[in-house]
């Protein structure tokens, strides 16, 4: 069996990839995908911890997180649609109405 430490490491790498994606990409949909990536990294961490401790709680949390991620995507996409309807763009650099 794979050592949970490796899974943890993979999860950390995925998380950082997701974070960098959030900071650097301009397209909102890509940013949303990166956030999904970060959530999945967290799910892997839960799974790894569950294996490490021999406790099912981690699995349950992972399941919850998947359910929440699904609804979050739905809401996120709905927001993007609404924003596109108003600004005709979903490029994050152009949407800064809150500035100063």
């Amino acid at each position: 069996m794979i050592d949970p430490a490796w899974v943890s490491g993979l999860s950390a790498i995925l998380f950082i990839i997701g974070l960098i994606g959030v900071f650097t990409r301009k397209n909102a949909i890509i940013v949303l995908m990166c956030i999904e990536l970060m959530l999945n990294a967290a799910n892997m961490q839960f799974a790894a911890a569950a294996v490490h401790h021999g406790d099912a709680t981690g699995w349950v949390y992972a399941l919850f997180a998947i359910a929440i991620a699904a609804s979050e995507v739905a809401i996120g996409l709905a927001i993007f649609l609404a924003v596109y309807g108003k600004h005709e763009t979903i490029t994050l650099d152009d949407i800064n109405v809150l500035s100063n």
Partner: protein, 744 residues
Amino acid sequence: MSGSSSSEVVHSSMAEYAPLIILLPMLAMPVILFLGKVFNTNPTWKNTLKEGGIIALVAMGAALFISLAIIKDYLGSFSNNGDIFSLTWLNTAIWEGGASTTPISFGFGIYIDHITVMLLFVAAFLCFLINIFAIGYMNTDEINDNRNHRFYAEFVLFCAAMLGMVLSDSFLGLFIFWEIMGLCSYLLIGFYYERPSAASAAKKAFMTTRIGDVFLMIGLIMLWDLFGSLNYSVVFDPANIALVNPGSLQMALGMMFIGAIGKSAQFPLHVWLPDAMEGPTPVSALIHAATMVNAGLYLVARMFPFFGAESMSGELIDLAFIIASIGGITAVMAAAIAFVQDDLKKVLAYSTMSQLGYIFTGLGVALWLANTLDWHHDPAAHTIVVVAFGAALFHLFNHAMAKGMLFMASGSVIHEVHHAHHHLHHDDHGDDDEFDAQSMNNMGGLASKMPITATAMLVGSASIMGLPLIGGFWSKEGIIANAWRVALEDPRFLFPAACVLLGAGMTGFYMTRMWVKTFAGKPNNEVAAHVGPTNSWIKTPLFILTLVTLSSVLLAGMGFTHWAPDSEYSFLSDKGLVDGIIYELGHAFANHDAFFFVLTYVAIALSAILGPFMAMSLFGGKLEEGEDCKPWFKPVIALNNWVYNKYNWDNSGIATSGLAVALQNRLYIDKYYDLAMVKIVAGFSNKAAEVDTKIIDGAVKQIEDKSQKISTIVRSLTTGSARDYILWVAIGTLLIFFFIWGVA
């Protein structure tokens, strides 16, 4: 003399209804206000119910009936176990550190003893009579139309507060009702609030009495500190008094006495009373003569158990001296100012102050006697204390009856002079403001036109002067004699004793001057010549009070001069009525002690002969030709005319002298108060305003200024870009992570 002693507890079946005495008038207030608001111009409300006057009268009548029933049960046998009813309002506890707490409860209760009974009768009886008078006075004047319900509502609330203060079973309850009275006094003085003088008089009365009230509150807090309670049953217990440091108790009682000075308009807090005459005359009669000003006397009379306690023997004489001296100073000063007043009601106002001064002197003297004599064991000393205290309380009674009557009579005069003026100058209302219906210069010769009023005024004046056999004579002699009795023991008391003796002559002067200027002589102008008789609502109370004042010789014979807070004492004398009167007469006119014999006749000579004689020689005169008066005035008018013709002298030299001018200006006391206000209060206010603008406002402005600068910097962080915000979130999360890691 103290007679049939009975110390058993009185079980009065009526006493259970005592709370109703307070509740009925108190409930009448919202009823009158509400109905008045709804039915204001309705003819039934206006004519049948007298805009609430009848509702008030019913409530006051019921209160009087219950009061009389209770008083009847308590006459003859008193007990000091006065607590008969109590309601708990609030249970709480004082934390004393650690786990120990002392439970305390505040509540309202009824406490009835001899002082209560005396004041209860005075308050309930006069409130009822003045209510009758008010219907005749207020409801017949157009200026009051459609707002009399406000008057009656405030009136009944005042009556409820006065009766509550008398019946209350603790100093806390007394203080609460005391303040309600202060509020009602303010509202009623300012009844004609559209007049600036009335509005400022109301404010002055409220603020001046407030000064006293603050000290009263301090005194009560000190008393609480000493006893842990303000209930009469606790603080009057000799066992509790024995545990208290006399110096602290004297301080607390002294503070409470300052409150009494404010309420009873004694020097130096007397300035509000003359101005308070701006209120309608029933208010002057009720609040500023008969009831509220007696609250201060009641408070001092309530202190008797402290002075009478054996453990305090000789410890509180300084306070007794201060009480007597304040009374003495006021008695003379107010009488002197009354010499030169032309306003009918202001003469009575100063007379009230002067007579209250007498009662304070009488109380101070009685408290001195109670504090020094061994009256618990020596029957002779016991009699002296009982009679001295009784004389002060009896003077309170006589003064309340006579002064209430005098104010109502003056109201009757003012009312009719005002109407006569309206009648004469029906077309031109222009000179309304210049005509002063209260000035005695617009009266004169009214004896033939208003016989009942003139009789009431004559009897009332005689009672206040202390003319032998009438009203105040019995009590005033007692006060003067006891003041001198104490002065023989303690030379300091020579001062108040001399003051009250001198004041007796001065009273004779100004009361005679007032009567003669109003009722004798020729009418001073055409208005006074057209005054008509008054209505029966006004006449009835005058008639009743005239009888009460005249019958005070009977009351004296029944032992009315002998009230004292002592369980061994019974108020009705054990002698029969006739024996009692003979005893009193013998005591008053043929005293065995040569000193008191001479003293009595000196006092009578001053008050009944010298003072009136001088007044008549200055202000007398006979009635106009053809004017006739009732037979009982004829000797008075004739005497007055004879004195005037024989001994008249030109007093313009005196009238324009510095002293007279000073008296006219009320000895400049008001002016100095104003000056002190301008210098001290305004100066302090300016400094306070400076501190406010520079330091407090400055600090606030600095904070505002700096926070704006900071916010400008912070604002630049809001770029509007979602990724920047996410970056901050990430940095923040990392910081929290490192922080937790660092701590762990």
